[in-house]
Symmetry: C2
Subunit: 444 residues, 2 copies
Amino acid sequence: MADTVTDSATESFKMPRLDTRDEDFGPLLEVLLDWEGVSDAEVQKRVSQIIEDVRTRGDAALVELTRRFDRVEADSVEALTLSPERLEQAFDSLPDAQREALAHAAQRIRSYHRHQKPESWQYREADGTLLGQQITALDRAGIYVPGGKAAYPSSVLMNAIPAHVAGVREIVMVVPTPDGVLNDLVLAAAHVAGVDHVFTIGGAQAIAALAYGTESVPRVDKIVGPGNIYVATAKRAVFGQVGIDMIAGPSEILVVSDGGTDPDWLAMDLFSQAEHDEDAQAILVGWDAAHLDAVEAAIERLLPTLERAPIVRASLRSRGALIRCRDRDEALALVNRIAPEHLELSVADPESWLHEVRHAGAIFMGRYTAEALGDYCAGPNHVLPTSGTARFSSPLGVYDFQKRSSIIHCSAKGAATLGRTASVLARGEALTAHARSAENRIDD
Amino acid sequence: MADTVTDSATESFKMPRLDTRDEDFGPLLEVLLDWEGVSDAEVQKRVSQIIEDVRTRGDAALVELTRRFDRVEADSVEALTLSPERLEQAFDSLPDAQREALAHAAQRIRSYHRHQKPESWQYREADGTLLGQQITALDRAGIYVPGGKAAYPSSVLMNAIPAHVAGVREIVMVVPTPDGVLNDLVLAAAHVAGVDHVFTIGGAQAIAALAYGTESVPRVDKIVGPGNIYVATAKRAVFGQVGIDMIAGPSEILVVSDGGTDPDWLAMDLFSQAEHDEDAQAILVGWDAAHLDAVEAAIERLLPTLERAPIVRASLRSRGALIRCRDRDEALALVNRIAPEHLELSVADPESWLHEVRHAGAIFMGRYTAEALGDYCAGPNHVLPTSGTARFSSPLGVYDFQKRSSIIHCSAKGAATLGRTASVLARGEALTAHARSAENRIDD
């Protein structure tokens, strides 16, 4: 089943190596991990202008900007709208294998995400006071799907299904179609995932339309999904007006190997990360020197057989590494230092590691759990915190499409008890109207 | 128990009124609710410089900037550090009533937030594949507490206790002490809430120190807590490097009254919101015209008795309103349109309203549940989404100090099944290293 396409570049490749025993390992690791997204003033300015244009001129601006940037001729936003029938037709037109794969992935993603659904809760205290938390779904979610060369149906599933499971009333998808080219797999994924509306618009203009609404595009409450620098800049700009998901950095994997996994498998796991783009990061850490040599050899042997070898080579050269460490404990310390987006524990007893992993977006356990399985169909989300942000962020999930409201219902007796405490604290803060509002409920 | 301080201003006050029957009600409501935080280029520039300075010079910059902005002379960050003993001493030195009120509030807040603690979960599929979600706490959280004129011990409790309940290993608090003035209530609250370290620094320099770490201040994973425009701008700037909570707009309340609550109580509830600052928003909505007149009269009569009457007057004049609507349904539509930070359902049967409230930060139910009770001691958090962001955000909670990691452990059989689906989808996306990584695990 292995591909045998030969890389056109003939140059040999040397995988970068690091060793925790080296004196300068600390600073070298810092450099390797360093990533700061640049915010270009020119991009910011153009994005602000586009947002302002869509806010003030609505549909007319959308039609014009779509003509200019995507070279799509349309005389109205209606002509940039795809009906549910069109999505279904795309699904029906797929080859059987693709249709079944899409349905299988969607079913598994849906099933996993259902486990994330929290329940509203309440409890009553002795004096009759009721406290609780009510969970509600967003009214409307917007899903941004990149078009053109990097059109990923899996991304449609991963962004739209959690919204659907959360109970969002209306899911609006935007996807640019440069030169009018539609991707049937993407439309079919939208059908499977329960998307309600699709507009074939993209860029900062699509983000602006979702954030503020136009005559035809409904205003949403939150925008999720990946995009280029214009999309990311626009999302940052409208944050506050609507919710947004995390702005993602380059994708990364950290593989921990105990030496027992086939080096060819590990090489391909690293490639699967590195093939995303030149900035993607693939790192393997282990304490078995001979095994690391074998992985290095496998990388050098297999790299030329990859379709995307030039991208993989560039990525591994500038951001990849095989790291030799002293032992299991040091490997774990590296895991928690790096807080990787994807962590592959290619070890004999991954369960024994789990409670010591404090920071990771997703944890792929054992020799059989290739990251690629999680990218498409294992069930958990593939939208994950990058660049060390797993220290404080979570995978995209049902919880991103819901919010909580606190519930407080005081009994007369409860209000009197609480009122006394509130009064003392409010007066301590010199907020006397707060104090008097509480005191009104004290039944003297 | 009522205060009788007379307002020095003698001008009469007319509470603004709106009516949903008026033709221009829609646009008038838009204007009333409109709020956009301004980001001043000058502030942005100064904040960037301060952050850069602290990143490069660490402690030395902190000492210098604290001398300049807070007029505190210290020759090291050690001299800007408060020990746990100092916090305990502050607590012990309080009058009994304050000490008891603080302990009572902390106990209730802790008890409510314990209900928010999620559990890690796992499930095993028929072929042996394990899927799940692991919950872990942040390593370190930073709490910003404003100093000077608006020093709120309740804010210390509300920000630090959820972090403590979440299991955060280390809670670092920063609080500026302009001219060296310490607020014992704030320090006592830090003691009660389980804060580990306190640094008497503030402003953008404190945010920079927490985000990047210095020789003495440990780098944290997330920064929460309110602050002035410099603090807010700095938080936005370091977002990504660390997590931050929502940037808050002015505080607001929406009271719905069915006409059965004492107009004097309702007037004081509105004042308790309006006294925060001139931009705070207090709105009451109801369908009983005579009752609204009575509330208006109560406002005009009681306003001059408030300590903070000038602030309340300015707030109500520019951002307050009594809104007359047609009926209960229209009141509910307004609630969901406004998505208020605080919603007071001052009605006979608040339970019957609950499932129709889709957007609100906190819901105060019935005539006895003054918002002020929730501000201090009912249990739920008083850090809530403002300016309509309750459409997509939640109160600060335990979940803000934890994150999730997806868990995938495929059996050999599971990997083979998933591998086939992943292979088809990966090839559909032209990501062939992904496909081959998955195919390696198919046991042919």
